[in-house]
């Protein structure tokens, strides 16, 4: 257990928010930047601390649990924080990606850097809160807290089409968030527990489950609500556009961490509380995931000429595997999804970071105008190839374990879908490797040669290298030692599905 004299979870949420508040109240720029280091480092260090001190054998129950009253006790809302085996990996992910995104932002020389950092810090505070919340109201609340700065960052610091992208992002994500909010309120009201506390809700709903028909409606609401937030096909169109326009650190945090909110909500809240409902939606979910996210979006990704859009589409595609894992309704599938979420979060953040670094050197995102960059920037090329391989799912990187576990779980669910999904790996290999080849190898186009002659591209600076190293190191660490996350994860998932791979509800299902 934690030996700290304070509550690590609360402090990891409050520190970035406090720094953001200080900047909002007009802290001078020099101090703002220095304090921003603190605001990004403290959550990351505390997350690692919690990971290191996570008690062996724990995971099913919440560790580091604390409760604060905010004056809504009569509604059953209180700020209850804690980590279980499902939340821990994502909490660590949020800390690490936050640190990397923060470091990258500090060196980015963005216009109005102070305000940019302020918004990123708010986002970071929200992200730590999402995964540390046991109270599902605050779970939603922190998600929105993290989401709002994204809109502003896309609109103000964004690239091409930022106004359109910001508006589209806002409307889509608000719709998704409202649907999930209604779903969460529905669970709260219908359970009769008069509490938003997930533990209480779980006890109540295990004792007196909701009727099957009601569960079906509620799960559908949550599935589409969360699904829009995770870019479930065909509600994914906001994602590539938004990521294409977003400034790099915002894209890293959103695609890397915030988007996992929906999947996390499905695994942590919807599946355990609405098991009967989930079993009625699996066909739809798996179908949309495999045919929509993996195959359709996979082919769209192959056709992309814009590097950043390509990364955006590829992240949409990888969410298909996550949805497929959830549709398996087994501890193996859900566990694989959590591992994939962490791995994908790290790798997509790394890709967005490197994409921006490439852009700084080539001044274009167009793949057809690039080539031969590896001669000038070998380190950048090495990082990019590593990130690409990770995102394809090469063994040794964390992504491999996530995808492998999902495929194993999916095999017992549907062999056809699994075969299609595995075929998706080929698609991602094609576009991933082709992109790496186009950017870094071959001969530079005339236009690029002109640009590079005018501004000779420097290799990755340390300020860019450091965040990339953090992300890559985490990917490799989990890739070589997945047990560090999977043990508590297993403990948390086990009670819901006692036998790995078994469909849990066949005995109790109404069918």
């Amino acid at each position: 257990m934690s030996q700290l004299p304070f509550d690590p979870l609360f402090v990891s949420i409050a520190t970035p928010l406090a720094v953001a508040l200080a900047i909002a109240f007009g802290l001078p720029k020099r101090y703002s930047v220095k304090l921003a280091y603190v605001g990004f480092a403290v959550p990351a260090l505390l997350a690692l601390h919690c990971w290191y001190h996570f008690p062996a054998g724990a995971g099913a129950d919440y560790v580091f649990a604390t409760q604060y009253s905010t004056g809504l006790a009569s509604l059953g809302i209180s700020l209850k924080l804690g980590l279980n085996g499902i939340a821990l990996p994502l909490f660590v992910l949020a800390g690490l990606v936050g640190l990397a995104a923060g470091l990258y932002a500090i060196q980015s020389q963005a216009e109005r850097l102070k305000h940019y950092l302020m918004l990123l810090l708010i986002m970071q505070g929200g992200l730590m809160g999402v995964f540390a919340s046991v109270d599902i109201f605050f779970f939603y609340f922190f998600h929105e807290l993290a989401l709002i700065p994204t809109f502003i960052m896309v609109g103000v610091w964004g690239g091409r089409d930022r106004n359109y992208a910001a508006m589209k992002l806002t409307i889509y994500l608000t719709l998704g968030a409202m649907l999930s909010l209604i779903g969460l309120i529905a669970i709260y009201v219908k359970s009769g527990a008069n509490s938003f506390d997930l533990v209480t809700l779980r006890h109540t709903l295990v004792a007196t489950p909701l009727a099957g028909g009601l569960q079906k409606h509620l799960f559908g609401l949550l599935m589409f609500g969360f699904g829009i937030l995770v870019s479930l096909w065909p509600f994914h169109t906001w994602a590539p556009l938004g990521y294409g326009a977003a400034p790099s650190s915002a894209a890293m945090l959103h695609a890397g961490v915030l988007k996992k909110f929906g999947l996390y909500g499905l695994i942590q809240i919807a599946l355990p509380l609405l098991p009967l409902g989930a079993s009625q939606w699996t066909t739809v979910l798996a179908g949309l995931a495999v045919f929509g996210n993996i195959l359709v979006v996979g082919f769209i990704t192959m056709a992309q000429r814009d590097l950043k859009q390509m990364v955006g589409y590829s992240s949409v595609m990888h969410m298909g595997y996550a949805f497929l894992g959830i549709a398996c309704l087994s501890s193996l599938g859900a566990g694989g999804v959590v591992l994939l979420m962490v791995a994908h979060g790290l790798s997509v953040a790394l890709l967005f970071l490197l994409t921006t670094s490439i852009h700084h050197r080539t001044h274009t995102f167009d793949l057809n105008e690039m080539g031969g960059l590896a001669q000038k920037t070998p380190v950048l090329a090495a990082f990019f190839v590593a990130a690409t391989l990770a995102s394809i799912g090469l063994p040794g990187f964390a992504n491999f374990w996530g995808e492998l576990t999902i495929f194993v779980a999916a095999w017992t669910y549907s062999k056809v879908l699994t075969a299609c999904a595995v075929g998706g790996i080929i698609i991602s290999a094609v576009y991933g490797l082709r992109t790496a080849a186009r950017v870094f190898f071959g001969t530079p186009t005339e236009e690029l040669a002109r640009v590079t002659a005018a501004h000779p591209p420097a290799d990755l600076r340390w300020s860019e290298k450091l965040p990339a190293i953090i992300l890559l190191a985490a990917l490799l660490f989990i890739g070589f030692w997945p047990k560090s996350l999977s043990t508590p994860l297993n403990a948390a998932l086990h009670p819901a599905w006692p036998a790995p791979g078994a469909l849990p509800l066949q005995t109790t299902s109404g069918k």
Binding site: T70, L72, F137, R162, M167, L179, I182, V189
Partner: protein, 510 residues
């Protein structure tokens, strides 16, 4: 009834009129008169101090009210049943007082740009506020109507206060006609109810048919009376005008645009809230036995109001019209709360919380509007906000917080208000209304966000040609009282989103 009373009984009735119970209203009325006296007595050079007196006096009054927020003798009737004092009434009193203070403050900023007599403005605002306080606590149709007319007549003058502006005069005329129509509907409904409740042929008939308690008892004894139904519908229609619910919202865009900005804020917040206070009293107390009639009517109104307000606001470029129509949609959300309150006690607290959040956010936005507006008060376009974030980050931040709260974005107070209303609606089982509400929220994001976009995102503007003048008004520099107030409003909006504390506890525990 009074004819049968002996002089002794009348004296006893007069003595039982506890004047202390309406101390805030009396004090406000006296303060209003004091302002006029000061204008006569003080030399012209000292007239600038009169608004300060008005604001300080109200602040003192607010402090007294909050200090003695739960006086002994709450939950009782005074003045022979004209008034009913309750903690909800106390809340509304504080609410109106706060909005009046803020309107006076905005008035000092906006009136400085006009060549007009100043003092009457504050006088009228105070009188209207006192009437609203009485209105929220009325327990009798006579008092309700008199208080409502005092409010409305005050607003006739306030809306056309900028008498040099044709748009302000036009707005005043429109408000006069529409207000008269709504008063007529209300009065007709009251008369019908009075007539039917006094009919000796019906069971439970009463001589005191104007009194809400007596009316309630009569309605309970006659569950399916056609005339009573007609009366209730007409009264609700009259109130729907005040809150701007569909289809009685037609006056809103023009009147909001033409009225001086502080008056628009007053209309948008206090007048709307007064309408809701009356609506709550009527649906929950007087008309409670006819819930099977009021609930469907209000539900349809709520759905139509949300959709109309949001869709109509989408195409607006004038920010006053925009905020007026967005206010229409807020009336719809509040109506959901009112409908839910019929069966779920929690909803009442939700409505009050929503109103409080709405007050903070709306005044924050109006505060920014008064500073961005020029001398031509009616022409406030979205373009005028271009570059606000660069030129005046403080105003832009306040605007963003206010609009975000109105849009219902967490972690701001407006989101908590919507959340409470949604929870209450869920408990009351109003699923179709919730669906409409979600659609409304998503649509509203477009125009609120468009406004924020106008202020924050850099948009290209053609460079000015030689001799061309920028048609956008110069922004008023923010003086410290307005700055402090706007900062406080924004801060409270944020704080109330994160931490509701004892305020939330007080509102939601019932």
């Amino acid at each position: 009834m009074f004819a049968a009373m002996t002089p002794e009984l009348l004296q006893a009735a007069a003595a039982s009129n506890q004047w202390g119970a309406i101390f805030p209203e009396l004090a406000l009325g006296c303060l209003a008169l004091l302002l006029l006296v000061l204008e006569i007595l003080l030399p012209k050079s000292a007239h600038a101090r009169i608004p300060v007196v008005a604001i300080l006096g109200q602040l003192v009054l607010l402090a007294v009210l909050l200090w003695n927020f739960a006086p002994t003798g709450l939950e009782r009737d005074t003045f022979n049943g004209l008034l009913h004092h309750s903690r909800d009434g106390q809340f509304m009193r504080a609410f109106f007082l706060v909005s009046s203070i803020l309107v006076c403050l905005l008035g000092t900023v906006a009136l400085a740009k006009q060549k007009l007599p100043r003092v009457e403005f504050y006088h009228l605002v105070l009188v209207v506020t006192a009437a609203m306080m009485l209105l929220a606590q009325s327990n009798h149709f006579v008092l309700l109507f008199v208080a409502l007319e005092t409010v409305t007549v005050g607003f006739y003058i306030l809306v056309s206060y900028f008498r040099a502006s044709p748009l302000s005069l036009e707005a005043g005329l429109k408000y006069l006609i529409m207000g008269a129509l709504s008063s007529a509907l209300l009065l007709f409904g009251i008369v019908l109810l009075y007539g039917v409740a006094g009919n000796p042929a019906l069971p439970g008939h009463t001589a005191e048919a104007m009194n809400f308690n007596a009316l309630n008892a009569f309605l309970a004894a006659n569950p399916d009376n056609f005339l009573a139904k007609a009366g209730i519908v007409l009264v609700l229609a009259g109130v729907a005008f005040k809150i701007g619910a569909f289809p009685f919202q037609i006056w809103i865009p023009d009147v909001y645009q033409g009225a001086p900005t502080p008056v628009t804020a007053f209309l948008a917040v206090a007048s709307k809230a007064a309408g809701f206070a009356v609506l709550l009293v009527l649906t929950l107390r007087a008309f409670a036995p006819y819930a099977t009639l009021t609930v469907p009517i209000l539900s349809v109104l709520a759905a139509a109001t949300i959709l109309f307000g949001n869709i109509a606001a989408l195409t607006q470029h004038n920010v006053k019209r925009l905020i007026g129509l967005s206010g229409v949609s807020h009336a719809g959300f509040l109506l959901i709360g009112v409908v839910a309150a019929v069966s779920t006690p929690l909803a009442l607290g939700a409505v009050y919380f929503y109103l409080a959040a709405y007050l903070l956010a709306t005044f924050a936005v109006f505060g920014v509007m008064t500073h961005v507006a020029g001398a031509n008060d009616a022409e406030q376009e979205l373009d005028h906000y271009a570059g606000l974030a660069r030129d005046n980050p403080f105003l832009a931040a306040v605007l963003a917080v206010g609009l975000g709260s109105l849009a219902g974005i967490p972690p701001l107070a407006g989101f908590m208000g919507k959340l409470f209303v949604f929870i209450a609606a869920f408990k009351a089982g109003l699923y179709p209304l919730l669906t409409v509400a979600i659609v409304g929220v998503v649509i509203s994001i477009y125009y609120y966000f468009g406004w924020i976009k106008a202020a924050f995102f850099e948009a290209w503007r053609a460079p000015l040609q030689e001799g061309e003048i920028d048609d956008r008004p110069a922004r008023t520099p923010v003086a410290w009282p307005a700055g402090v107030t706007l900062g406080l409003l924004a801060l409270c909006t944020v704080l109330l989103g994160f931490y509701q504390g004892s305020f939330g506890e007080w509102l939601l525990t019932r």
